[in-house]
């Protein structure tokens, strides 16, 4: 027999470990493999998206983490946090730790589910690699941001906050939606829609934001996660192609899932949009520019023409996402600003130069639609106040974002859609979210809606302070940045330093 090729060797080390059971039924061994309607005729046709044996995996990953932790240690020792662009930069990282890190953790657990329940040995191995990669990401993010937690507000209760706080039910319900689905839908949701279609929109802004704002640890984490992410992306693409190639009947099912998960993922990125345009002291690029580059060019013009070969169309409702790229970040940040008293990060009125930047980047919308809001907020501040919205917002039953988005083509009219299910009325922010609900109403009526829960008395009590205490929020975590605990400390640390130098 000839020696094995690299591909054969990899196959011998991974999928060849698999065997067909004879003491139990295959359906019994893989009970979740068929209920979604996806038909796989030949698992051996799976093309391994990457070839990494266990020994190389350990070697590369250990080396990457050795470097990362060395950076974390030296940053902590040298009080590196004082070299950030500004303490307000950390608001982006607070949102990241509260909203994204717990999703990495969920991915860790649920890729293990794929490592158990996918029928093919090849994809199972890819899934277990991703399972421990995701644990790596969750843990390195916690360790990276743990240094800031010692000195700044908003980080300290991220785990409980993720389970309780209103705006965090947006990412949480998104991931719960994927995890509660079957294995093939989960692959489409997370590996393809989230990790492939939108990953650049999700991670690049945070990581570039970190590098522009002096956050060396997060930047290092981002770089070191990149090679993991590229494996995850190829897994997402291979999963989709594999399903589409295996059976023609899979095409409409996968199309439906892409339609659902594009919109579901896109709504989660609304938080990223507001972070990019409003929360970074040194901005990298606008949401609009990022959306055009990473989504319109790379995905709509790059990927989807390729997928049309399989009979896959661009996601339903994608045009609405394109149309609202001039509006999205402004609508979301204004909401976070208005309800900022109940958040785990601070918000503030953009400074003059920031307003100019927004005008320049959003020439069609900012000056006529959003600048007046900020001017009003300024007048209130000049009178010694701070604008906050009184009361609680109505949430979309699907994405759980407050109903703040506007009618397509009418940027001053709030969109409102509704459906009736078993005699009850449910509200949605958009056609996309209504369409998703109408496909699976029995699922979405289960949602733990933070505002409903407050009204039902399940969140610590009827008053705002009681709810905030139940969220685990302390003074300085939310509200206005100007004059906040973080800002006062930041000024104090830097002034102390300046006077020390001056006295020499």
């Amino acid at each position: 027999m000839p020696k094995l090729s690299m591909k054969q060797r990899y196959s011998v080390l991974t999928r060849d470990l698999d065997w067909e059971p004879s003491y139990v039924d295959e359906e019994e061994l893989f009970p979740h493999a068929t209920f979604e309607g996806i038909k796989i005729h030949d698992w051996s046709k799976w093309e391994d998206p990457f070839r990494l044996t266990v020994d190389s995996y350990y070697k590369y990953q250990a080396e990457k983490d050795r470097r990362l932790y060395a950076v974390l240690d030296s940053f902590a020792q040298s009080q590196g946090h004082l070299s950030l662009s500004d303490a307000s930069y950390l608001n982006a990282m607070k949102l990241f730790l509260q909203g994204v890190t717990p999703l990495e953790y969920q991915a860790h657990r649920h890729f293990a589910y794929l490592g158990r329940h996918l029928k093919g040995g090849g994809p199972r191995f890819a899934a277990i690699c991703q399972s421990i990669d995701e644990l790596r990401h969750a843990q390195t993010e916690i360790h990276t941001l743990s240094g800031y937690n010692k000195h700044y507000s908003g980080f300290h209760g991220f785990s409980r906050m993720h389970d309780r706080v209103w705006y965090l039910s947006v990412p949480k319900s998104f991931f719960d939606d994927a995890v509660s689905a079957g294995p093939f839908e989960f692959l489409t949701a997370i590996s393809f829609s989230f990790e492939y279609l939108l990953t650049n929109l999700l991670f690049v802004p945070f990581m570039s934001g970190a590098s522009f704002n002096g956050d060396l640890p997060t930047m290092t984490f981002g770089f070191s996660a990149q090679s993991d992410e590229s494996r995850h992306m190829t897994l997402g693409l291979e999963s989709i192609k594999f399903m589409l190639e295996q059976d023609e009947g899979n095409v409409p099912i996968v199309q439906d899932w892409i339609d659902k998960w594009f919109w579901r993922s896109y709504r989660v990125t609304a938080l990223v949009a507001s972070m990019m345009d409003y929360q970074l002291p040194r901005r990298v690029m606008s949401w609009k520019e990022a959306f055009e580059l990473y989504f319109e060019q790379q995905m709509l013009e790059g990927l989807f023409p390729d997928l049309s070969y399989y009979g896959i169309n661009p996601p339903r409702h994608v045009q609405q996402a394109v149309d609202e790229k001039d509006l999205l970040s402004h609508q979301v940040y204004w909401t976070l600003f208005s309800f900022g008293f109940a958040a785990g990060f601070t918000t503030s009125i953009p400074h003059d130069d920031h307003l100019e930047w927004l005008s320049a980047n959003y020439p069609d919308t900012f000056d006529n639609l959003y600048r007046p809001q900020w001017e009003k907020a300024r007048r209130i501040r000049e009178g010694g106040g701070r604008f906050f919205f009184q009361g609680l917002p109505q949430l979309c039953q699907t994405c759980q974002i407050p109903m703040i988005f506007t009618e397509p083509g009418s940027p001053t009219v709030i969109a409102q859609r509704w459906s009736e299910h078993r005699g009850e009325k449910f509200n949605f922010c958009s056609d996309g979210c209504k369409w998703i609900f109408d496909r699976e109403p029995e699922k979405y009526v289960q949602a733990w809606m933070p505002v409903h829960q407050i009204y039902q008395g399940n969140c610590g009590g009827p008053t705002v302070p009681e709810v905030l205490a139940w969220y685990g929020l302390e003074e300085g975590d939310g509200g206005e940045y100007e004059g906040s605990v973080d800002q006062r400390n930041w000024q104090h640390w830097h002034e102390a330093q300046l006077s020390e130098v001056a006295s020499r």
């Binding site: 000839p2 094995l4 003491y23 019994e28 070697k59 500004d86 130069d353």
Partner: protein
Amino acid sequence: MPDEHHVRDRGGPNLQYELRQQVIEARRQTFDHLIERLGDRPATRYEEGTIAVQAEEHFHYRPLWAPDRELYDRRYSELRLTDPYSFLDPRQYYYYPYVSARATLHAELSATLAYLEQRDLLAKMPEAWRTGLLEGVLPLRHYEAGAAMASEAACRFSYGASVAQCAAFAGFDRIGAAQMLSRIGLSLDGSTADSLRAAKQHWLTSSSWQPLRRYVEELLVIDDWAVGLVAVDLVDSLTYPVVWRSLDEAALTGGAGAYSLLGQHFTAWYEDQRKWLDALYAAWLADPEQGKANASVLLGIVDAWLPRAREAVSLFSGPLRLAAGDALLDAVIDAAYAEVTERLATLGLEPAHVGAGR
């Protein structure tokens, strides 16, 4: 387009240096969920990366594949911990120390294989040991792959990040062990994979391997992650000591130094694996509310699976008899079995079958 307007001017490099000298008192040492448990002291990276990291409340939707359960739910097993973090990994493995430790393990195996290949020591093994390795050991790569699936189920369905994390590492370890065995096979057959094809046939058809294959397939269809984990551990508890640790001396004196050199890596892994599993058994049994129920569930699992594990190991190790001798093999199986039952007895679990096989 970076905007530097309200970035503070902090002066030149001199100031940077000075900043580093400033002592800033920490507002808190760690996160709330750790402070509540451990007090406001600096937490280890293991603690920060593990404790209370899994979501515990307000799951939005029931799983389509288990509509009567929550996404994370103690009811995925009969074995339960009131406080999931009453179990912590004594090795304190989070991702980084885990991959570092395993990078070393695999580098050491590679060094051994390189050494053996350079000196052609695998080929020079006495025929009986070579056959023993090919027919009585290599098919374990499939057992390891099955055990990986059981570990992945434990990672997904266990409750709390500390157990799930150990299970995830163990699952990855299993694929690692399967690859270690496969690489030995490739060394033996000159990278043609003939030995691995033959090993798969043994796994699928040889009567000596069928009890173990049946055992694995049957434990995988049990809808309780902990049963799978414990049942695999019972096989491990016999397999690793019998196949690797206890035959070391016989291999050395029998001229199969290669067998002994390889065995050290598997024995090292097994000793590491024992640490967290023993701690998990202890936590299950010490649980203030669930301890008694856990003891009875564990005993049930042991009674159902340990005799089968013993039978499976006695049979698949058959090909090693020619190399090691019947008397020795019987003795090491008895010894390994006694070790398991003693360990269980120390935990307060007396299996019904103790002594029955002697």
